[in-house]
Each structure stands twice: as structure tokens, then as C-alpha cells.
Amino acid sequence: MSSTSPAASAAASGNTPETGTARVKRGMAEQLKGGVIMDVVTPEEAKIAEDAGAVAVMALERVPADIRKDGGVARMSDPDMIDGIIGAVSIPVMAKSRIGHFVEAQLLQALGVDYIDESEVLTPADEVNHSDKWAFTTPFVCGATNLGEALRRISEGAAMIRSKGEAGTGNVVEAVRHMRQIKAEIGRLKSLDNHELYAAAKELRAPYELVREVAELGKLPVVLFSAGGVATPADAALMRQLGAEGVFVGSGIFKSGDPAKRAAAIVKATTFYDDPKVIADASRALGEAMVGINCDTLPESERYASRGW
């Protein structure tokens, strides 16, 4: 931490630094591109992730696989645990709040985390409303299963989007479904003329201005990562080839046989996602992958991706 705040320097120079701007929030996510963000539950795991080349860590109390196993209400992590992880690494630290639980988000901002994940992996606190993310200095990442959902989150202030996938399963099928859905809907918008974009906005249940922006850019106006079910280097490379700008890996690393080695391998495969030879080399001798769950055997009540709207 700097001893002089930007506010103090503003008075001195007559040049007013601004914190928490959309450019600073979205720009932070741009710096994470091409990287892997890893779920960790202890400072020791955070150090393993940093040493393996993670661009950031997600501090949480239990990885999604354990949340599934243990059941009960999943909440924001213990502040002491988050402090411990912030103190252990120099890379950015993210943490999760429940959907709509803006007070948990306020606490995470006060704790100084670098990004807040308003996450369906935790038990939702509000079944109608997500948090107003414009009200925060700390940027937010949110999950989405389709383009309309992504744009609703961006309109609420999300500065980064991740496809949801199905966290804690070690099964990449839902991540693929959501990424393909988002990319296909973006592709369709690009083919529409100006008259058709109004009806498209209505169908997507998303603000017209954002719909038009996506049609013009041919991409989301914020960084798009993939999450939920990535367990191998090939999974990470698959998501990147499908259009993800980076990946979140949750249970896949620390529920595997050799976390340090698997973490480093997934980092390499994420950078050289289009080079099968590098990915094959990175995939050797990694030990056991996490066991995984077949998503079609999951009852509706245990599907995290259907939380949030």
C-alpha cells in the first residue's frame, strides 16, 4: 500500500485522480487476460497458485466441490481468512459475495479485495435483485449462461463476465454450453441491421444501448472469462479456443492429485491454447484429476447455473 493516497496527491498537484472509474475497473480485468484465476482456501494454497503462475486467486472458505458435498448455506468467507490470503500473495485477490447480498460486498470492499465475484456458487440472498455494482469502488465479476444475462449484469455495473458452467463438478460440458451460447448470440447480433436491434434487445431482456454496443464491437464491452468445470489443461485450452479470454479454475486444482503441477500445466495450456503439442507436454504426469460429476444426474436444486436471472 502506498503511504500517500491519490486524494492527497490531487490536492498537491491540482490534478484530481479519480478512483473506481469504469475504465479502471474494466481495465483491471483486461490485465488478467490470457491468465488463470484459481480458487484457494488457505494462504498456503494461494502461494502454490502464485508460484504456478496464476494471475489472481479467488479466496473462499470451501471450493465448490466441498460446498456440494457439505450442503447448507454457503456464505462470504471469514474476513481473517481473506486477510491471510491477501497477506500471503502479491497477485490480485478476489472473493465471493452471495447474489444480492450487497452488505457482504461492502465488507469485501472494506477488506480491500481487488475484485468481487457476485457468485451463484454461494446461496443467493435475494431471488429478484442482484447488487447495484455501480455503487462500489471495487470492480465486480458476474456469471452468465447467455448474452442477455451477461448484459443485465453489465448494466448493473459488472466490469467482467464469466460464463457460469457448473462449478464443483469437474465437468466442462456446461461451461462449453454457456460459452457457445454467448458467442452464438453475439454472432447473431452482428448480422442484424439497426431496425432489428430494438427487437433483439427486447428478446434478450437487455438494455438497447448495450445490445447496440455488442453488435458494433462484435464482443462484450468487458472481458469474458470461462468458469465452472475446468479440470485439465485441455479443458482450459478448449474454453479459450471457444472464445474465453481466460479461465477460472475452482475445485479442479486443489481437488486433484498434484495441485502445484496441475496448476502450472493449466497456466501453460491457457497461454498456448492453440498449440496441441505444448498442451500435450503440459498434460503429462499430472497425477489424478478430480473425479467429477455427470451433470445430467444433478437434480435441478443442485444446479448452481440456474441461480441468478
Binding site: V24, Q31, V55, S90, G112, D114, A264, V267, K268
Partner: protein
């Protein structure tokens, strides 16, 4: 040297905001090219090391055998521009390196990582930068480093809050902030001019 008027400039594409530098270089009159392998590095006239996570970029550069080729080309006089993490990679010394964090080096300076604070302290401010005409540039500082101290050969081009945030030594240029996020290509134009200048010598 490839086409002198439109030099081939690489963007180190191991991790970070590669696409933004790519667009800025194209807007500044260069032919951008991604660089992930030693043979790709050998082809370019100059290189940008983008913003990103410096520990990640450093580890990947070591793992894929790029660090020594990068050092050799810097010693041989290839122009390089680094923003944020790229500035850290160009520093001869990091004040608080993580274990095993290597830099390419080349600029005789010590940098302090995340010196301006964590993400909540990240900010935008106007920056007056020497060698860049037409008024201040928009400085976007994201968990930004600053330069703690510099050697005699290093010119400080800009300061914020008293700390050097843009420096040049010979053909190496570094900024704490991210001009690639602003759509203003003047810093990249200054770098492209440096690359064109190498051809004249």
C-alpha cells in the same frame, strides 16, 4: 529491419492486455505481431511488453525459453516499450520480487510493484510526459508500480505524486500506466518513432 515506414513490432503475448497494444500499435503506424516463441521474437524490429501480471509473464517467459533471447535482443539494441507489468519486466531490479521472479532488465532502475496500492486505489490522472506533444496523456494506473530510483543513464519522462512513472534509457521505454486503454496513441507513436530511428543508424 522490415518495412522502415511500417516497422514490424511484436507484442509479447504470454499474458495480459495484448489486444489493446496491438490496436494501439496499428493506430500508431506499425505492423503488430504477437510473440510467444523465440523464432517469432527473432523476426520483429521492436517489442511491446504489455500490462498483465508480472509474476505470470516472468514465469511463462522462463518456462518457454524466452527470457534469454529477450535479454540478448535488448543487449543488441532492440527497442522495447513496457507498460505496467512491462515496466517491471524492463527493470534491472525489483524492490520486492516474488520468489524466482526474473526480469529481462535493461533499464537501470529499481521498481516497486503495486506501489500506488491495490485495485481500490487504482486511478486515472492526467500525466505530462516529455517527448509526447499535444498536452498531457490520460494516465490509467491499475495496481501500478512506480520507479523507486534510477541510474545516471535513465531519463525520467513523467512523474505522478513525485514518483517517476515514465522513463527512457536508450531504446527502452517504460510507463507505470496504460496508454493502450485510452485510445490515445501518442505514446505508441513515440515508440514507433524510436523503432524507425533504429533503422537510420
Amino acid at each position: 529491419m522490415n518495412d522502415t515506414q511500417r516497422p514490424l513490432i511484436g507484442v509479447l503475448a504470454l499474458q495480459g492486455d495484448v489486444r489493446e497494444h496491438f490496436a494501439a500499435l496499428a493506430g500508431a503506424g506499425a505492423e503488430p505481431r504477437t510473440v510467444r516463441r523465440p523464432e517469432e521474437l527473432a523476426e520483429v524490429d521492436g517489442l511491446v511488453i504489455p500490462g498483465g501480471e508480472s509474476t505470470t509473464i516472468s514465469k511463462l517467459a522462463v518456462a518457454f525459453g524466452l527470457l534469454e533471447p529477450l535479454r540478448e535482443r535488448v543487449r543488441a539494441g532492440m527497442p522495447v516499450y513496457g507498460s505496467c507489468a512491462g515496466m517491471i519486466m524492463l527493470a534491472d531490479k525489483i524492490l520486492d520480487p516474488r520468489s524466482g521472479q526474473e526480469t529481462v532488465g535493461g533499464i537501470d532502475m529499481i521498481v516497486r510493484r503495486n506501489a500506488f496500492g491495490r485495485q481500490n486505489e487504482s486511478f486515472e490522472a492526467a500525466v505530462d510526459m516529455a517527448d509526447v506533444e499535444g498536452g498531457p496523456v490520460e494516465g490509467v494506473f491499475i495496481r501500478a508500480p512506480w520507479v523507486e530510483s534510477t541510474g545516471a543513464e535513465v531519463r525520467v519522462l513523467a512523474r505522478h505524486d513525485g514518483h517517476p512513472v515514465a522513463v527512457r534509457q536508450g531504446r527502452l521505454l517504460a510507463t507505470s500506466f496504460h496508454p493502450e486503454l485510452t485510445g490515445d496513441h501518442r505514446v505508441h507513436e513515440a515508440f514507433v518513432a524510436m523503432v524507425r530511428g533504429t533503422a537510420d543508424r
